[in-house]
Amino acid sequence: MLIKLLSGDTPRSGLLAVLLLVILISLAFAPFLFPGTRSLETAAKICIFIVLVASYDLLLGYAGIVSFAHTMFFGIGAYGTALALSTTGPTYGSMIWGTAAGAIVAAVFALAIGLFSLRVKAIFFAMVTLAVASAFAVLVSQLSWLTGGEDGLNYSIPREFKPAFKLVDEKIFDVRINGKLLLYYLVFFASLILFLTMLRIVNSPFGRTLKAVRDNAFRAEAIGYRVVWYRTTATVLSAVMAALAGSLLAIWLRYTGPATTLSMEIMIDILLMVVIGGMGTLYGAVIGATIFILAQTYLQNLMGVAAQATSALPLVSTLVAPERWLLWLGVLFILSVYFFPSGIVGRLRAGRT
């Protein structure tokens, strides 16, 4: 049953299995284990980013395609939901049709970009997506009558998901069962389902063919698989997943703006998470996203301490200043591309044998 749920793709490493289990349990019981708004925000962000990063891994790790438009699809999903909620009011209906519309628009965009530029080299696709994504980000911030421009959109969500809504009056384990908690579990279970769906996709015959195309496109073509079709389908699938993750973020934050969904910084974060966690395995996305977001939230405090401790040394203290954490992740990123391209998960799996 469990193996079927994981589509036969077991962690294949004791330590990895333990890590994944710890992450799953911590996320599943986050509101009870780590009370407080900040940790709940972090937990929800981890859930959403696991889906987002896994969908990117579908493209980068399984299909071998580098795209810089992933935040664009993420943003399309978020804005779809945000626009639906802000125009037609906070109902479940508008939540659903906004999410669906976002996913469909993302799929159409991905199809167009894919058919247009996947025939040529990987580099070409990377460049085209970079250009298109930044043009899209500029367009969104320009069309302020529709998207709220740089300020983004604030809107409300169905009443049952608001902190003021109480499901039961008593506290359970000292935690108030309110709308925020319900919303967290919506995000958690949606992310879990999406993740398991992706696990199903990559372990299907389609996923295997995708890997074949990645490893040797020429040979795959010769055997009779239509490479362009597989690549385009992978692009579309990953775009839809990213859009759904975007919708989750939009519902969770009750705010959608260019900085939270479309910016190049998020694209770079996603890249870092995939590579550090491990390309070509969806568990890498789980590990990468969790470590990265924990580091983003808590490592900076640690670096602040380090910066204070070294404040006597001028250069060192600027290097370990909390704002410079991306520098070290960048170095880690380059080193991991060189020395362990299969990331943390690959290391763990290799260590087993």
Partner: protein, 342 residues
Amino acid sequence: MSDTTIKPRIEKVPAAEQLVQKLPVLLVPVLALAGMLAIGNPSTWLTLTVAGLAMGMMIFIMASGLTVVFGLMDVINFGHGAFVTVGAFVGFTVLAWLAGWTASPSVLLNLSALLVAILAAMLITGGLGYAFERVIVKPVYGEHLKQILVTMGGLIVAQQMIHVVWGPDEMHLSRPEALQGSIVLGDAAIEKYRLVAVAIGLALFLGMRHILKNTKIGLLVRAGVENGEMVESLGYRIRRLFLIVFMTGSALAGLGGVMWGLYQETITAHMGSEIMVLVFIVVIIGGLGSVEGCFIGALLVGLLANYTAFLAPKVALISTIALMVAVLMWRPQGLYPVVKAK
């Protein structure tokens, strides 16, 4: 013994086909003409055209290195934008030191300050290019996926280092005295600096063409683009050639950075990655690896961006994307595809 020498037979290409091959060259005047019709007012048009040409030239300066590097070694450097930023910051720092020179009314002193700034920027970005090639690009030759990832990582690190060295704030600087203000031509006001930018860009393009067409190193570069393995087997060290080209490309990015910075008069740590979008569009339009295509693409993008910024400001960046799509529909490999014998 006959005195006939053996000559290679070169087949004449029919005139119509030649015209089709030359067609992209005509795109620039056609676009300029279309801009004239759309804008209507000749003096506004002149101002915008000069602005567009200046912008195009600056983009060309930044893009040319990138495209040659790709043509020669199949390496695309996503960290190219970092050189642009570093160049701009070095140039601005030097110009700030030489504030006495730039503020003086003497044209000679102004220009020499600019020259010193440009040289310093090119030297530093060239050196940085050397380090970048050795440390970041060299280990991943031939693997596109890793190249993209690693050069992107290089960009992140370089951007953060700029923050460390110059701090997170943007820098402002006014242009040297002699380059401020504009020349009035009829009704049209043309900024002097733009003319200088056009002149530098044009000189660079002609110089580059000259080097590529008429010198031995240019011959080797072109041969390397055509078939690198063959050049190597003839005894030339193509890796070293590539290193030189990479450093030159980086230095040119630095030059472009100084010029762009002076054009905007404000620089930020992420200006490089913003411009890179335009640079990539230009490189794609021109055809990866082609200098001529890159030049035409840069002019097209520069002109179009300025025309649309005047006519419909909201769609300025989208218009360049539309241009890219249109060009790719017409020629899927770009205007002048570089034929690879691979």
